[in-house]
Subunit: 252 residues, 8 copies
């Protein structure tokens, strides 16, 4: 029984208050309707679309979930897609494919657009796939994204120039992806007043080489920055877009 | 030699271009002036005041640094102050003391104020000291702060009510402090479209009890949130204030 | 506004369905009443009383929370109490003190009793404090508790005899506390058909000596058992009592 | 020499007391009979059937062990079966195959049934294989199993509804499987008075992504729950069935 | 009921075979007699005396256990004794005190002696307390012990000379204690055909400084050696004595 | 220049004392001869043959080293041999192949034999490959080896019987291989006065499942035992054989 | 705008001092020219050529970067090259291939040469690939390199002889590569006054077997040595060459 | 028997070649003389004085070792001295006390001096004690030391200026001490051609706060640098002095 039904019955005297309270307590939001509706509600509520992690799903299950989401949302964003999974998706639908990030998008509705601006910086070429995942999700959340890749600490002069362009473009938040020792986000956060999100990447080898050195280094940074999990491009991009969209919404 | 001096000499023909380029390359920002000026510059640049970590400093050194900062900045914020250090500070200056957070502030200038609004939530009573450190720094950065303490997952109903108040007050960013299993930030991030910063706290015991369970749990969260280091109240508060102040600045 | 109020207003036509649904959605269980009531509700719901962890709380806060709980619940159970905290509690109330477990109980209502029977076994003398914490909470949840301490693998003959007594007494669940290599729970679980809860204890030294060896060993056990965190006597005791009380309730 | 033989000889005066005591001490349960009998004895004793872990066994050894168990027990349960191993098993016997859980069952005797009822909940689709392993073993132990999959914290409304159904069905114990941050078991344990067993799953990536975040989070949980090892579906299912069968047995 | 009783009854026809078998199966070694006897039995069986770890025991409990053991065994060996515990012991008994090792021995019977010879080597002066613990237990097990302290890798010439003496004295086993990088046991094991037991010590600082570097280094050693836990002087000494006593016993 | 040459020259007056001392100091054992000789010397000195770890070597290098050793020693023992490496070895030589242990032996000389007796116990079938590696090396060192496989804690009665046989056979040392929680070595060491070497095996899954649980558990054991690295069958077997051979040598 | 341009404009009065200072502050080294020039500058500045890590790069990207570097520098050094990547490189250019180290060099300019001398020692044959990587980079930096491979602690006599040769050749720095327990660098550093760089290698198995034991052991070493990351042959070789080249430069 | 004695005897025909070879093999450097001589020899050999780590030594032992070293070497350097230990030392000797580094020096001979120049940089004030330890040992090894403290990444302009001074002064090696995220050594190594030794410091809190973040970050650095253990000021200073002294020696 859906919530409005319960309320209707109360209004009509078909259900007494004690029973109604119990129903709501026990069953909660049980009968709000179909699953598709719920997702829409969630998106409106927290401003982030659901994303499907392909890793660890078999091709069939992945397909079912993706097609369901495409149907209900008009779009399905799928990350960490293997070649085999990609093949399966392509048989069922037209796929917008981002090869570096390994992200597939199925789309029926046009992308909408907010005024949010997000900057994404990658320290080295090996950090680009993760940075790209961040870019794509931020764009799917309506933001304009400016990227600057391969501007690590070794070539700090390029960094200054790129940062300058980003600030001129009015970025609301910055994602800085870095592997190895992960020093770049702290450097950036020491230069600008824009919120910086550190995105550690699992490039490297030996002790700390799966991204732990980068993660710990960002957590210990003397600069003020916040951090997401290793290789969590999606989270970093979505968080930055959340900041940007919120700031622009406030402005209106 | 300061940068303007170099440029003056170039203009006056007292230094040739090759030499000037070398000077700037090698010496960089060397001679920008006195240390006090530099700090002011940093604050203007990144929007976060310097904070003195008392832990691991002897009373004398702490005092020297604090008094120098008070002089140059009109304010010195000192975190993790021991009773002994507090006594020493009190001999030298009037001290604004926050006992839960163990933060001392020396102040000559009035606090300024931005329009930023920050919400700070603590899961349990044991998380309050770290949450308070976040609150104080956000206020020192000019934000209005709304707090809701002891609203852990166990008493989820209180959470809904407090969140509702915060959203009505127009919070630009939320800090959610939680120890033990650290589940609260993910719950909050699943309910609102405001950016949520997870602040893991070192409450707990046994495996993962020094805050690692909370930290890992926040990093793995299915919700979109970003994270700071364990017990890093200062970083969380400053990051939230950076978001809030940036958003309000954008709005103007 | 409390839930029944909302329902009343709907019934009386003072609130339309759309608004009522929104109220319930947004505010959830917000206005269910006073905090004391909520706790009672929680206890009825999940069958476990709230317990106050004294560790990390200052004496004042601890006192306030304890007295509030005593008032609302007729009982306050406080674990990991320091000598200083104990002194403070004793000034404010009569205290039932369990020195090995370092548990203090403030009590106004008589202990109630279920038919549940819980067995608690400790491998060595060093494991007794944690085992005692388990015993006390299980008794507070109304169970009869049978204990057998210092029956480690070294003295396996004593174990057989004690187990035999426990089974004759009809235990519904067994807590087995063990430090060092933590082998005892697996041995017990290989001998009886009663559910066994492994309780690792932080006795030991060197590699794995803070309870990790015991914890990992229990998690890897070939026998079927479940585990709680290192030194989590309260959780183990409460879980065993939950099993016992549920089984007896089923029986009725 | 078997135990009864020793006792016979003592009775007949063929062995003196000193010698008999020594025999029993040294040789223990040496000659209790054939291996098949022993297993039957173990099952009767602890209420859990032996399960064969296929992982790390070559196809021949696996086959031998499985066929021996099938012969002696009338049933062989084999977990973590690879495609190659499955092929080998199918050549030798009819195989009941559970593809999600990768569990193979060889069966000569009919499944028996107890009155125990077990509920199994999986947070996400990626947690289903491990949850299925739990389901199968609980059913093999005679329990009725009710499942609710993909009811993670994100869709908490579905959870309420499913939990409600389970309680109506009289579940004796609940297994809750969750990867990533592993928050679901704590949420469930905060809602019902049924014992909840947390089952951490190795879904996730980055720091804590092999199930450690979920495991630590469950160990640190403020709710009362017990835990099994990462991906240990068999242990969780068998433990829940042990609780359920014991409770029902008590009832009789 | 003790084992011989059961056998007596069988012999006398007071107990039938079925019942006797059940008694022995269920109750095991239950009624073998008083605790003191059991310990004696254990010592005879495995050749190692029980040792009391003082750490984590309060003075009273420690005293009770020690006096009981002194009474039943004629000797009580207590390790890791604090000054406070030592004071308490001295009030109750004459104490043989080994200050470096912090071992206390209460003794009523004379030390016995085997022909076993054990060599104990300590790399640095900081490793001596742990090496001494090994020496004392080996002597209590009847062995002659030859020690060579402060013969680390840095002074390898001394090592050769000391090793030579030990081999001339016919050592049956060698304990080599080393902290920091723990290289000495591997060096020794590469020079002699006597079994070498590596004993890692928790001297050092920084990464791996609690003995982990030494432990891992010994486990990874290219030489053939076996290892005990960090600071486990007792285990190393007893294991070496077990080898020595067994070898001498074989010889007879 | 070899040592005897230097001494010859001194004797003949062709080298003065100062020079000779310097030669020996600086160059050490430099010129003792060919590599083959050195190995022989090492074997005589420490009683353990060199063993070639195939893992991580390409087939050519492996072949060269193996053939050189076969030539100089009359035997080459190669562990952790892949199928590809085995193929390469078989092309060059007759190979004695142990499939469970994946050990290849090339042999020109007959195996010699000492009087040493070693017992090897494996807890589960998955532990057999590592146990077999221990068996092979102990036999190559001349010992008689008695094995008992699949006698884990679950079937403790079989253990008693097998142990009894081993003791009757006069074992000088016992290797006990165990994965998962690794409890078996402690149980065995609590039953016999023969030195027990714990051999942790990397069977298991989840937390501690790569052998760490077994390793830590053995290091923390209350029984007296020593330990080798995870899966280090060679080290365990060689160490046991060293004990056995030394004991028998003493006896003569 | 490049730095000299700014200075030119200042000199010519086309830019005032305030503006020039701002330009330099904000844009930094932005417009120094093309990327190729910058690299040259970096090499001159820190004395180490850029090296391309092939691992984790797709063949196309790798090719582009390599060809760009070859063009601008006259040389491209590529490490950790897979067979597939090697094939791609060979299609585009003549490749100098070092199979053990898996390093590819593309070269248009002749190798230059300094007077620096570097010694490289590898403990075992498994350590040779990493040692070779160190050798190649040191040679590319102009040093003469002397190598001694397979001179582990087990064959210490060979070490003395090889060290002696190295010192006679005037080595300025020594790289010592070692896996397993990593003891060799400490031994070498205890014998010579040349700076020793420890290079831990990921050979080994079980606990600490991915190079952690070697790394920790080197960090804990009583001898004075410095360390690079596990398998970081490039860093060790370049660091040694930096010492050697600096020393020789000083000498001139 | 000392080496020359053996040689004498050989020369005189008092010892045959076989016996002499055996003596030298077995006894090695056994009888090289008195201990004092050996130390002198070691210093001459590796260029680093022995340093006494006070931590973990009782006052008496410390005193004995220090006075012995003072006597034999004319100097004793003692690190990590507690107040209590300092008091004891002061009773026995005049003490040169360095309060920040907590290093005590007892001295009879004048400090000697080489031409080596070492630069020592500390990122923050909290890193100064460890940096000071490095400075003192480098000076005791005869080097001129130039320091620059509190020049962390946050105040990068000061760093450029200080580095410039150091290079003008001809530093042969640089030690860079840094806690928290440990980024400074990499920055410095990216700017100069002098070898840079990273010295991680245990300042910080939360995850990675005991110096692991700094250590891992330095090991992962893209710049070429080598590293010592956390807080190992002595090792870093001595290693830098070894480079400097070797370079200057080469020059002569």
């Amino acid at each position: 029984m859906c919530l409005r039904d319960i309320l209707s019955r109360v209004k009509n005297g078909d259900m007494d208050l004690i029973e109604a309270e119990k129903q709501i307590r026990l069953y909660g939001y049980q009968s709000v309707g179909k699953i598709a509706k719920l997702d829409a509600c969630r998106m409106a509520r927290i401003g982030v679309p659901e994303v499907i992690l392909a890793e660890g799903k078999n091709a069939e299950d992945l397909m079912d979930i993706a097609m369901a989401q495409l149907k209900s949302e008009g779009r399905a964003i799928i990350t960490r897609v293997s070649d085999e999974q990609l093949g399966a998706l392509r048989k069922a639908s037209k796929v917008e494919w981002h090869p570096h990030a390994r992200v597939a998008i199925l789309r029926k509705k046009k992308k909408s657009s907010t005024d949010g601006v997000v900057g994404i910086i990658a320290a080295g070429t090996a950090d680009i796939p993760v940075a790209e995942e961040a870019r794509i999700i931020a764009e799917e959340m309506g933001c304009k994204v400016i990227t600057a890749y391969d501007v690590g600490v070794a070539g700090i002069h390029r960094l200054f120039s790129e940062l300058s362009k980003m600030i001129d473009a009015g970025v609301d938040a910055l994602v800085v992806a870095a592997g190895r020792e992960g020093a770049l986000p702290a450097v950036v956060a020491g230069l600008v007043d824009v919120p910086v999100i550190g995105l550690p990447v699992s490039t490297g080898y030996g002790a700390g080489g799966s991204g732990e050195a980068a993660l710990l280094s960002m957590l210990q940074s003397c600069s003020v920055l916040s951090v997401v999990n290793i290789d969590a491009g999606f989270v970093a991009g979505a968080f930055a877009a959340k900041i940007a969209n919120k700031a622009r919404e406030d402005k209106k």
